[in-house]
Subunit: 446 residues, 2 copies
């Protein structure tokens, strides 16, 4: 019944039933996604994919964000905007499942909204929320076993979220919506072994594309299984060893996952955030005392076990690998007092100054710590020791980014691509999503 | 090391090292694939997908087989020819794994060969064999657990076979070939729960497309994991509970899976073949004695347990469902003495004459029987009983289809689409693959 329940809920969801905080979270998530997608538009992972797949591009209906008006077919726009939005690992996080929810859903939805035309901001928000809820509730139902097995949960549930969102935008009825969910569910994309390579962000783009294709096929009457999620050989049992899908879906429309979405201040795995946060604070403290990174003898961090499992790369060789190195995160915090996209460029990752401090950092896993907590100890050559305890890192539910910080992040990412004025214009346009009369018009400035 | 081993083997494979029986099997498999793809070109599952995805079609470089010269981009040609080639469940079978090997590999390869141009028959055969070996050895390494879990093995390994084939055609070196394998491996498409719906054949097309996209990305330097198949969170461990991948890959180039490929005389699950074969023989026996299906009181079949697990649908409602009904298979054999695509049309599946006999058939699973074996008992209203033991069904390794039967099957499928003369022309062109100077020229008649 799970597939039918989800389809039925999504089909019946109305804009008026969305609580204000859900709409606010949806607009913020969309805003953050646009910033990340434009910020990642010129990354080699995005441009290489674009060049490789250009021979397959179809009718230009949908924008490639940050590409100065360039467009392609909705399917490739979904793929490439999805890649761009995730390539800096700077996108949003549903903290309970570490799903990055917006990439797969918004990349599919925005591309198809442009292709369809006649979509306003409220239509978009409604479909977007339906997709995010589908994705995150499904993710919760198989978390953490599904992730432990080795699936990249962002993309494996993302394709289903994208299908629900696009299906909602296309006004699918319940049965076709079940088929859309089914066709998306059968395309299980994303092995964790790809982390640290171009393919990690490809997962997000492909999930968007898988979901879009699923909804477009279902809209024409293409059939899948009506019990795709819950059947004995359906999605949940094949991709996980346990699930509580019925329980999770019972919460649809009552507990909103959209409102639990968080935004990253740093472009790397969310679990590195406490260490970066603490190291930046320590760098400021040292600077105030006239000390620099050159005065550091040894650094030790205690972290939640997941931090080392996910981000234990000791000697990253490029920016993509550095996103999975808590050591690089600590080093840029201590040396540069900053951790933006610029601090994850290959040249910084390999610079002697950073490598020198990075190699002085050791880490131990401590199960008593929370995933957003850390204890940092810095031994200085003058014999003194500094310590810093971060209870909840910035970007957590307890210490969310403010609207101003989100805007700063957006401008920081978009300015190098669209220029300062273009970035301001884009920022205003995206904040105004709810009142937008046309997503096609909105897209023009992005 | 498995990923590196496979890549290295494929990169170094030369045409001169292919045994004659492997080349013969490759040409026969290609021939059978073309027949199936043209035969499925006008099936609603193919045409619906084509109509739904037409807005995404790119530059027309690659043929849609059986569509009278219609072309699209290589990616969509791979998808749609893949769907068409599998929709009648009439394609080839690697019996040890029940993989249908040619669909994913040839659909990707043919589309890309046309797009690249300058590919001759030997180039094509070489790349094709590399892909088939990759696919089937990988399939063997996770069989049967992977299938038992619920994965449609044809598409889950098919994408990897397609990537190896296209990568070989594009002359990838070892490291990019590892990345191609990796990008294909991360796109795990195909849940068995979709059997009996449009999405089953979508799996084959999508696998072709996944593999093609993987190779095209890798050719541009896109990276995945270099240990994608064997890593702790790589393909084999995530999608199966056990594997013997190193052992299987040690046999690459020594034991050829290509030569173990079998062709189906009937357009349905291979496990139904013994019952159909036996029932057709019984129908002839009855006809010779002046008896008809109207004289049948009861039918009982004893079959391998897999037959009922896979094809136990008692009351199929359309042609796609009927492919998973050993009862329908028995009924058309007993009533019509034939089991071609025409006997799987919806109108036949629902005809009172067929339903009447179908409902008289019962089946029991018997572990002592082989998968290609059956015992059939027919009780007649005159009080007599007929029995038929099929040791190895037609289409098995022991009783393969002859070249003439294969040609008959091809003409039978292609004539309704291309006309009698077109079918003869296509048949000659496909048999001549090995000496063909240009796959582009070859494609023109298909």
């Amino acid at each position: 019944m799970a597939t039918e329940k989800l389809a039925s809920w999504a089909v019946n969801l109305s804009y008026n039933s969305l609580p204000p905080e859900v709409i606010h979270a949806a607009v913020s998530s969309f805003y953050n996604w646009v910033g990340c997608a434009i910020g990642g538009a010129l990354h080699p992972t995005t441009t290489t994919a674009s060049e490789a797949l250009a021979p397959f591009f179809g009718k230009a209906t949908s924008s490639l964000l940050g590409q100065k008006g360039a467009r392609t077919d909705a399917s490739h726009a979904a793929l490439l905007n999805g890649i761009a939005s995730h390539v800096h690992d700077y996108d949003d996080t549903h903290l309970q499942t570490i799903i990055h929810p917006t990439g797969p859903v918004a990349s599919a939805l925005f591309a198809q909204a442009e292709a369809l035309g006649g979509v306003n901001g409220q239509d978009f928000i409604l479909a977007f929320v339906a997709g995010i809820e589908a994705e995150c509730k499904l993710g919760l139902s198989v978390w953490p076993k599904h992730y432990d097995i080795g699936w990249h949960i962002t993309s494996t549930v993302g394709s289903i979220g994208a299908a629900v969102a696009v299906g909602k935008l296309m006004h699918l009825e319940r049965t076709p919506m079940q088929h859309a969910i089914s066709i998306a569910a059968t395309q299980v994309t994303g092995l964790r072994d790809m982390f640290g390579t171009d393919t990690k962000s490809f997962h997000v783009g492909r999930a968007a594309q898988n979901g879009l294709v699923a909804a477009v096929l279902a809209a024409r009457g293409y059939t899948g299984s009506l019990q795709a999620l819950e059947a004995p050989r359906g999605w949940a049992r094949v991709v996980s060893v346990e699930n509580n899908i019925d329980e999770q879906f019972a919460g649809l429309g009552r507990e909103w996952e959209m409102a639990r979405n968080a935004f990253k201040p740093f472009p790397c795995g969310i679990v590195v955030h406490p260490v970066i946060d603490g190291c930046i604070q320590l760098q400021r403290q040292m600077a105030a005392a006239g000390l620099t990174a050159g005065d550091i003898e040894r650094v030790h961090v205690r972290v939640h076990p997941l931090v080392l499992e996910l981000t234990g790369k000791k000697t990253p060789q490029d920016g993509l690998q550095a996103k999975f190195s808590v050591y690089h995160g600590g080093a840029i915090g201590l040396v540069l007092g900053k951790a933006g996209p610029a601090q994850y460029e290959d040249s910084v990752v390999l610079s002697p100054e950073i490598v020198h401090v990075r190699d002085k950092i050791s880490a131990t896993a401590d199960e008593s710590l929370g995933a957003d907590e850390t204890e940092i100890t810095v031994e200085l050559s003058n014999g003194t020791t500094l310590t810093k305890h971060v209870q909840h890192a910035i970007g957590s539910v307890e210490v969310p980014m403010t609207t101003e910080q989100l805007e700063e992040k957006f401008i920081d990412q978009v300015s190098p691509v669209l220029g300062a004025e273009g970035a301001q214009h884009a920022s205003k346009a995206c904040w105004a999503l709810q009142g937008s009369e046309s997503v096609v018009e909105l897209a023009k400035g992005l």
